[in-house]
C-alpha cells in the first residue's frame, strides 16, 4: 500500500468552549480511522457534512498531524514528521480542492500558478512544459495568460487538476472536486481524472458526499459518520449489499431520475 493510516485519531481545540486560562478542551474529530490506498487504486471517502471526510483527507496529506495512530507513505513513517522533512515528499502527494475559485490566486495568471509548483520543486517550468500540461487536461494554450476569474468553473477545476498532476505525484487527494459543477462538466472532469489515474498509476483518495459519483469512479469505498468509519469495502459489493443501516439509509436517500411513488413516503 502506498499510503496507509492505522487507527488514526485527530483532536482539535473546541472553539465553542471558552476558557479563561489554560488549554482549551479538545474534541476528537477523527476516531480510530484506518484506511489504505495502493498505486492505481481509487478509494472513495463518503459521508455527510461534519463526518470528518475532509479532515481525513487533509490528515492523509499530513496537512494535519494525527493525535494518535500511525501514518506511512511508501513505507516511510510520516505520522509526526516535521514539515521540513516532509518537503521532499510533498511533490509526490498532491491535493485538488473543491473550489478552484478560492484555491487559485486571483492575482496570478494560470501560467504563473502552474509554474510556481514546478519551480519550487526544482523542475522545468518552461513555456513548453506548461503548454503541454494544460493541453493534457484539455485546455487551450491561451489559458496560460488568463486569470482565474476569466475561466469557467469547469476550466478552473481543470487548472486545479493540472496543478496537482504537474509534479507527477504518486498520491492525490481530490476533495469534492466536482460538487459545484454542472453534470456535463462533471462527466468531463471525471473522465479526465480517470485517464490521469491510469496514466500516472495514481493512488487516489476521492472525497465526496455524492454516492452516485463515488459508485462510478471508486474501486473501494469508506463510509464515515461522526469521525468514524462506519463501513468499508469494495464499492460494487457495498452498494449491492450494504452491511450497515446507515449505508442503506444513505443509498436510499439518493433520488433517481425516474418517478417512484414510494420514494417520498415515510418508512
Amino acid at each position: 500500500m502506498l499510503i496507509e493510516a492505522r487507527n488514526i485519531s485527530l483532536d482539535v481545540p473546541d472553539m465553542g468552549h471558552h476558557v479563561l486560562l489554560g488549554q482549551r478542551r479538545k474534541i476528537r474529530i477523527l476516531k480510530d480511522v484506518s484506511i489504505s490506498i495502493g498505486r492505481g487504486e481509487t478509494v472513495g471517502i463518503v459521508g455527510e457534512s461534519g463526518s470528518g471526510k475532509s479532515s481525513l483527507g487533509r490528515t492523509l496529506m499530513r496537512l494535519y498531524e494525527p493525535s494518535s495512530g500511525n501514518l506511512t507513505f511508501d513505507g516511510t513513517d510520516i505520522t509526526h514528521m516535521p514539515q521540513s522533512a516532509l518537503k521532499p515528499l510533498r511533490r509526490r502527494m498532491q491535493m485538488i480542492f473543491q473550489d478552484p475559485q478560492s484555491s487559485l490566486n486571483p492575482r496570478l495568471q494560470i501560467g504563473t500558478i502552474l509554474g510556481r509548483g514546478l519551480t519550487l520543486h526544482g523542475l522545468d517550468a518552461s513555456e513548453k512544459t506548461l503548454a503541454a500540461l494544460v493541453e493534457r487536461v484539455g485546455l487551450p494554450g491561451s489559458v496560460l495568460k488568463r486569470y482565474p476569474h476569466q475561466l469557467s468553473g469547469g476550466q478552473r477545476q481543470r487548472v486545479g487538476i493540472a496543478r496537482a498532476v504537474a509534479l507527477k505525484p504518486d498520491f492525490v487527494v481530490a476533495d469534492e472536486i466536482v460538487s459545484g459543477l454542472d453534470v456535463s462538466t462533471q462527466a468531463q472532469v471525471l473522465d479526465l481524472l480517470k485517464s490521469l489515474r491510469t496514466e500516472f498509476g495514481l493512488a487516489l483518495a476521492f472525497i465526496s458526499h455524492d454516492l452516485s459519483v463515488i459508485r462510478h469512479i471508486c474501486d473501494r469505498i469508506v463510509i464515515m459518520r461522526s469521525g468514524e468509519v462506519v463501513e468499508a469495502g469494495n464499492t460494487a459489493e457495498t452498494f449491492r449489499a450494504p452491511k450497515t443501516e446507515f449505508t442503506k439509509t444513505l443509498i436510499s436517500a439518493i433520488p433517481l431520475p425516474e418517478p417512484d411513488a414510494g420514494w417520498l413516503t415515510p418508512p
Binding site: G153, S184, A187, D210, S212, R215
Partner: protein, 289 residues
C-alpha cells in the same frame, strides 16, 4: 379521464413569450410556460439556463442589470410585469412566497427565529404578537421541528442547515399563499436531510393545494417531487411536459444528453457522457436564430 382532469385544471401562472436581456446578451428567449393550480412544476437546466431568472421575474426581484424586453407573466390573469413595486409587495408572501436556496443568508442573523417567523403574520395577517407566536408554534410543528418553543428563541446560527430550511419552509407556508417558488431549496443539504425536506415540501404542498414552481438542476429531485417539468438551455424552453413522460421518453436531444451525463448509482456500467460539443453548437445556433 386524466384528460378531462387536465382540462378542468385552472392555470395559476401563465408566462407568455418572456424575454430578458443583460449587458452580456439575452438571458431569456421567448419563454412560455403555464403552471396549473396545485401542481408542482420543475424548471430544470444547467447553470446559465435561465431557470432562476424566471423564478426571480415572477417574484419581481430581478437584479437591476437584467431587463425584461418582452412578454408577460400572468398570475390569475393579472400581468405581474405591469404592477408597481408597491403592488408586488402586496402580493409577495400573501399570494406568492419563496423558499430560497441558502437558508443561512436568507435569515437575519441578528434576530430570533420567532421574531422573523412572525413578521408576515403580524404585518399581513394582522395578528398581535401573542397570537402570531402561537401560530408560529403551530407552523414549526407542521414542519416537524422538535421543541418548537425553544427554536423560536434561537438565532439562525444556532440551528443546523436542515432546521433552518424547515424554518424557511414554515415561513413560506405561513400565510397560505397560492404559489410557492422554491429555488434549489435542498442543494445545500445532505442527502438524508434533503429527502426529509422534499417530503415535507410535497406534503405541505398537497395539504394546502399550493402551486409549486421548483427550480433545480437535479433530475432525481425533479422525478420525485414534480408533476411536470420544463427543460431550459440558454434561456430557451426546449421541452415541457409530464415529468414521468419526459424522463421515460425525452423528446429533445439535450434532455437525453443531460440524462446520459447524470451519474446513477444503480447503473454503474453506464459510462458518463458529457453533453456532446456538436449538440451544444447546434443549440447555440438554434437559440441565436
Amino acid at each position: 379521464m386524466a384528460r378531462s382532469n387536465v382540462e378542468t385544471m385552472s392555470t395559476v401562472i401563465d408566462i407568455r413569450n418572456l424575454s430578458a436581456r443583460s449587458a452580456a446578451g439575452a438571458i431569456l428567449r421567448d419563454v412560455s410556460l403555464t403552471v396549473n393550480a396545485g401542481e408542482a412544476m420543475a424548471l430544470v437546466g444547467e447553470s446559465g439556463a435561465g431557470k432562476s431568472t424566471i423564478a426571480k421575474a415572477v417574484l419581481g426581484i430581478l437584479p437591476a442589470a437584467i431587463r425584461i424586453t418582452g412578454g408577460e407573466i400572468l398570475f390569475d390573469g393579472q400581468d405581474l410585469l405591469k404592477l408597481s413595486p408597491a403592488q408586488i409587495r402586496e402580493l409577495l408572501g400573501v399570494h406568492i412566497a419563496l423558499i430560497p436556496q441558502d437558508p443561512l443568508t436568507s435569515l437575519n442573523p441578528s434576530r430570533r427565529i420567532g421574531d422573523q417567523l412572525t413578521d408576515g403574520l403580524r404585518l399581513r395577517a394582522k395578528l398581535n404578537r401573542a397570537d402570531a407566536m402561537t401560530k408560529a408554534l403551530v407552523l414549526l410543528n407542521n414542519v416537524h421541528i422538535r421543541d418548537p418553543e425553544l427554536v423560536l428563541k434561537r438565532y439562525p446560527h444556532e440551528l443546523s442547515g436542515g432546521m433552518r430550511q424547515r424554518v424557511l419552509i414554515a415561513q413560506a407556508f405561513s400565510l397560505n399563499p397560492r404559489v410557492i417558488i422554491a429555488d434549489e431549496p435542498t442543494t445545500a443539504l445532505d442527502v438524508t436531510v434533503q429527502k426529509q425536506v422534499l417530503r415535507l415540501i410535497r406534503q405541505l404542498q398537497r395539504d394546502h393545494g399550493t402551486t409549486l414552481l421548483f427550480v433545480t438542476h437535479d433530475l432525481g429531485v425533479v422525478a420525485q417531487i414534480c408533476d411536470r417539468m420544463t427543460v431550459l438551455y440558454g434561456g430557451k424552453v426546449l421541452e415541457q411536459g409530464s415529468t414521468a413522460e419526459i424522463l421515460r421518453n425525452p423528446q429533445h436531444r439535450y434532455t437525453r444528453a443531460l440524462l446520459a451525463a447524470n451519474p446513477r448509482y444503480d447503473q454503474p456500467e453506464q459510462r458518463l457522457k458529457p453533453v456532446p460539443d456538436d449538440l451544444i453548437a447546434d443549440l447555440k445556433r438554434e437559440i441565436a436564430s
